[in-house]
Amino acid sequence: MKLAPLNIAATVACGIFATQALAQKYPSRPVRMVVPWSAGSQTDWLGRLVQPKLADSLGQPIIIDNRPGAGSTVGATMVAAATPDGHTLMMQAAAHAVSPALYTKLPYDAVNDFGCISRVGSVPNVLVVAPSLGLTSIKELIAHGGTRRGAALVDAGEV
């Protein structure tokens, strides 16, 4: 079986910042990092990798808060509604950029309701099929799909 790496998923980190908060001492209390994915996921792992150094650098503990659900939109909704004082951060994945097109009623604006801080890392995606299908290329996969009625069911990992 052939694995086709599709380097389309870039893990992103978003945080909310309000400019008025910067005039005060920041952070004035522990910072919550919402991870809208389950514990042990790739994005969670990145959050936990950044957590200790970010805590050292900010001088306050960083508390990871896993809020998975609905393709990360549950956690993102929470972050969008949080007080924009920099004490609520989000470690997010590429799904954040997919959600606006995928969900018709998104209770937040994926771009304008968040203040970007930095990208953290990018990860490859892999496309796999059951070996019993005997498909060895994307071309063959498309041809295979085209000969069947109905839709293909795709699990896009963290999307």
């Binding site: 870039a10 790739q42 990798l49 950029a97 097109a101 990208r119 890392g121 990018s122 490859p124």
Partner: protein, 39 residues
């Protein structure tokens, strides 16, 4: 990071904001063309 297959990336807030806007547009087109639905 490399052990986990992650390529480290860094950016400024301005560059990241630009990147996010481009990604939303790019994935928006892909979702539309593919007619993908959340399940």
């Amino acid at each position: 990071m490399a052990e986990q297959g992650v390529v480290p990336r860094s950016s400024t807030p301005v560059k990241f904001d630009k990147f996010l806007r481009e990604e939303v547009e790019r994935f928006g087109k892909i979702v539309k063309v593919s007619d993908a639905k959340a399940n």
